[in-house]
Symmetry: C2
Subunit: 250 residues, 2 copies
């Protein structure tokens, strides 16, 4: 597993934990990271509580190469991400002069309200992440990238972050949907996994009108994916399981 870079995501906000807002950032970030040769190793969702945010940031930043956070960097009283991450690093919160200048230039002195000034606060020592959508910057504090929760803004911030990331080995994926219950393929699939140790073979069951399972094969080597998938396809053919077309290796 040399060259593997693993990151984590911390989703901050009561609105996700209440079920009111459905998170859309996890799957986007996961796919974006993989395109950049980085794996997503863990996700946590925590409420708008400073101690909870700080504890999670400290757990994740010591365990993973990167921590991405979403949410809680707006102008309202419940936006406490900056304070919480400053607490995690045990540094004060300061006004970032460049963030202040950008925001003042954008809004004009008269409309640069205290609420907007709040969005120029960073943990001491942090750098800015550009926000081409709504100006108020994201923040980089060591290996922690602090991003907005609004998907459009989060996605734009990632483009500014990209050049700063170590690139690991891309993991190639190929999938095959089998229209048969998982339990009928389980034993043979386990044998294929054992025979293909350079791959990770997952079976993800679904129920849409009938039972089926999507077999997903992952490896840093495309040839290893192809070999294992060939064995899965031969198995389905021999057992007369109906399958969809196999996906591209991506």
């Amino acid at each position: 597993m040399a060259d593997t870079v693993i990151a984590s995501l911390l989703i901050i906000g009561d609105e996700i934990l209440s079920g009111r807002t459905k998170d859309a950032n996890l799957s986007y970030l996961a796919e974006w990271l993989n395109e950049n040769g980085i794996q997503l190793g863990e996700v946590r969702v925590v409420p708008d509580v400073e101690a909870e945010i700080a504890e999670a940031v400290n757990a994740l930043r010591t365990k993973y190469a990167y921590v991405f956070t979403t949410g809680g960097i707006g102008p309202t009283h419940d936006d406490i991400t900056v304070d919480s991450i400053a607490a995690a690093f045990d540094v004060p919160v300061v006004i970032h002069p460049e963030a202040y200048a950008r925001m003042e230039a954008h809004y004009g002195k008269e409309n640069f309200t205290d609420a907007r000034k709040r969005m120029t606060r960073v943990p001491k020592g942090a750098e800015l992440v550009d926000n081409p959508v709504s100006i108020a910057p994201g923040i980089r504090m060591e290996n922690v990238f602090i991003m907005a929760g609004v998907p459009k803004i989060m996605q734009a911030m990632l483009e500014d972050i990209r050049p700063h990331l170590k690139v690991g080995r891309k993991v190639w994926t190929q999938s095959l949907t089998v229209h048969a219950p998982e339990s009928k393929i389980a034993e043979d699939l386990g044998a294929i996994q054992t025979a293909n140790p350079d791959t990770s073979i997952g079976s993800y069951p679904f129920y849409i009108g009938g039972y089926g399972s999507t077999i997903v094969i992952r490896s840093a080597e495309t040839a290893a994916v192809e070999k294992a998938m060939g064995e899965v396809q031969a198995l389905c053919f021999a057992k007369r399981f109906e399958t969809d077309d196999v996906s591209e290796i991506d």
Copy 2:
């Protein structure tokens, strides 16, 4: 915070962390718990790795009243939730006789394959959770409820779990969508939060054609929600912010 019951969710599976599968269980469980007077306090997503699952289960089961897990209880080699939770509790994995009897009765002796028998394994000391959809039971181990990842099955298992849960105070919620940037309402909203300490007031920005924010007020007392929402509405009226209709208190 007396009478408050807080639970956590552990989502198990590489398929969520790869972005391939979008989790649908978080928001369902959050709303279901709230209807039952329980708050969701934290969510973690971990890969199909025994040590990671066990560590997360142990962290969550000591901190929260309940842990719900989803995923990894099927018949395939990558379904390692039972083993991992047994490891977390430091107990062996055993065949549960009642689970065995149910599965054998359902499939018949001839079709009761080793893969299906795998789904009768539980951490020693565990009880069963009924699965009216596909028979293979969920599992209760002390305060940990082990459920399927397939939403239809997970939702059915929750109905069997419901009578076993302590019921806390229901938190009432009311929301108002304001079509104005958050930064224009932030300072007054902070003052309303300060004046209404029995409520939790959240502001969740969005960008759909233009900037707006949904103000969500939560409290265990409906009167407290109504009072704070009245103040938010008066603020929007005074500032001439366009709003949608206020939601029901629910």
